[in-house]
Symmetry: C2
Subunit: 357 residues, 2 copies
């Protein structure tokens, strides 16, 4: 079968031939439909992330997949089930309490592998196998865009953690700000639009000039676009308002600190972007004091697990069809896979199609 | 009646004569038993906090009180009830949604007065009045040390917020670190000792030399004393371990940032100390990244309200008698009230006695 991989020492994705995997007991064999591409894939390719499976000279890319079960192999799954695989798997050293408690998304470094990212092959191949417990069934109607379930699940978990932090009092947020107008930021904007919190005002920060398809989506969702070059996060309360909820999806390291000043009293900031080390001067006294005097919270969130994929499946049905159409700017066949890794101002979200239902 | 006040332009507490207050409808008249002294009182006295009641040339001090109802004045209270007053009251401008929703502890600046701190007289007087809804009944057996209910309630709220932030997953903490060995830090150490989370290892950071009564208490509670001059917060993981829970009660502004590095994966830091502005260089990238990759949380917490006073009353009964004896280093009569405001290395917690049951 064909697989898109990055080789040791390589710096771009290439297609290779690999043997079709055989499911072990408890595993199903899945024919891959589509696999999404995101920023993490670019980091893996450039070597800034990840690690190769032990003893292998390549890593199969891809962690945002949807597929169809072709061999249930004595699992509870059935042939023809549409499934989305989760990403974290037990590490080489074997399982541990995080997997036993069904929350590998809470496992620290070294206590997990991540398919397509670190230590285990991903899903960009004609077929993949997976233990049944890491395959989430989704409706057949979701098959085409099922590769969005994984990124949606990332926000499901972040919202779960952030909202939990405000659950001990009556919190009635009305404004939310998403930092970052990439595909995850835009998905989150659409999710907040139909969120139970019923936000009245949504904002999304980016640094693009009009005309721009992401700004169009933000405005079509009823949100306000904020250009960070004109209005950095610290100026947002003066230019717009303080925000009850902030979702950080850029990894720009000033955002964690600045968000606290931009939050309304009792607000919460969810941090998802992953910055590199960067030292600079901050008024850490004001940051600390503002956290205390206005009961603010900051919550970091990474990865997601089965329950978040399940709620993502429900959320998916609430997202407007026009939004999904506008978000996915390209689905490419394997013969044109390089196009899915191109990133220009017209690209929002891409996927590679391996087969169809 | 006598009252301990700070006058406009004054910089020390003085005793004055004031008329005994008359309860308005819905208010009870309370004879003051004892009122505790804490760091906020010192800030109020030095003018670094607070504000005088409108039209008054003085502020009656004190917000950690216990008293006995002498005139229920048609409320549901009864003569002889032992009560602890809460601190936040509607501002001059009138009530607002935070008071209507019974969570004035979540009100932002300007939407509350604080008795003895900002805008309303405190409780350091022979009698005080209060609306019934802000008087929490406590058992008669708690009367003597009932002035500790307010500071305990501060930690009740902080724990409630911090634990809520970890409530969406299975969190099983075993280590906790309290930053600060003042009376609030020590009360929190004792509370964590009997906490439902069943911490196996407790640590408390201070900067005192042995022999020292606070270090004695920390060790008698089974905790480990950490001298911040030898082991600053950032070195604690190497010298001791990463902490599942950190409680910041010093207001030292480096602690908010450093705590994130000292937290274990999935850990939470509760911030209670109130620092001034202070700019310095931090690796905000590492701070942000560590929050994300290990699902960490920071939660600010200020003040407390009725439900926290009620749970504090339950918590109080669980604290060892020896601990309470050792914590309260002086209860002074009005004639010797200045001694309650002295602060040397033998002082932990003091109170002023206005009357007895």
């Amino acid at each position: 079968m064909k697989a898109i991989v990055v080789k040791r020492g390589g710096d771009k994705p290439v297609v290779i031939d690999k043997p079709r995997p055989e499911p072990e007991p408890g595993e199903a064999l899945v024919r891959t439909l589509r696999v999404g591409v995101d920023g993490t894939d670019h980091e893996v390719i450039s070597g800034g992330h990840g690690g190769f499976p032990e003893g292998e000279d390549h890593l199969v890319l891809g962690h945002e997949a949807v597929g169809i079960v072709v061999d249930p192999n004595d699992t509870e799954l059935e042939e023809g089930d549409i499934v989305v695989p989760t990403v974290r798997r037990p590490p080489q050293s074997g399982t541990n309490e995080y997997f036993e408690h069904h929350q590998p998304d809470m496992a620290p470094d070294g206590m997990y592998a991540e398919r397509g990212i670190v230590g285990e092959h991903g899903f960009m191949s004609d077929f993949f196998t997976s233990p049944e417990e890491y395959l989430v069934r989704i409706p057949r109607s979701h098959a085409e865009l099922g590769f969005l379930i994984e990124p949606i699940s990332i926000t499901e978990k972040a919202l779960e953690l952030a909202y939990a932090s405000r659950s001990s009092f009556e919190w009635d947020p009305s404004s939310a700000l998403v930092l970052g107008n990439g595909s995850l930021g835009l998905l989150t904007m659409a999710m907040l639009k139909s969120d139970d919190k019923a936000y009245e005002r949504l904002y999304c920060l980016g640094r693009r000039d009009r005309p721009d398809p992401t700004i169009d989506i933000i405005e079509k969702l009823g949100g306000t676009y904020i250009d960070s070059r004109q209005t950095p996060v610290e100026d947002i309360p003066d230019e717009h308002e303080q925000m009850d909820f902030i979702y950080e999806a850029t990894g720009f390291p000033k955002h964690a600190i600045q968000s606290v000043q931009a939050l309304a009293p009792n607000g919460v900031g969810a941090l998802l972007g992953v910055p590199s080390d960067w030292e600079f001067e901050v008024d850490a006294g004001a940051f600390h004091r503002e956290m205390v005097l206005h009961n603010k919270a900051l919550v970091g969130s990474v990865n997601s697990h089965v329950k978040h994929f399940e709620s993502a499946t429900v959320t998916f049905t609430k997202l407007p069809r026009w939004f999904l159409r506008d978000l996915v700017t390209g689905v490419y066949p394997l013969s044109d896979f390089e196009a899915a890794f191109d990133d220009d101002d017209t690209t929002i979200k891409t996927a590679i199609e391996f087969s169809s239902v």
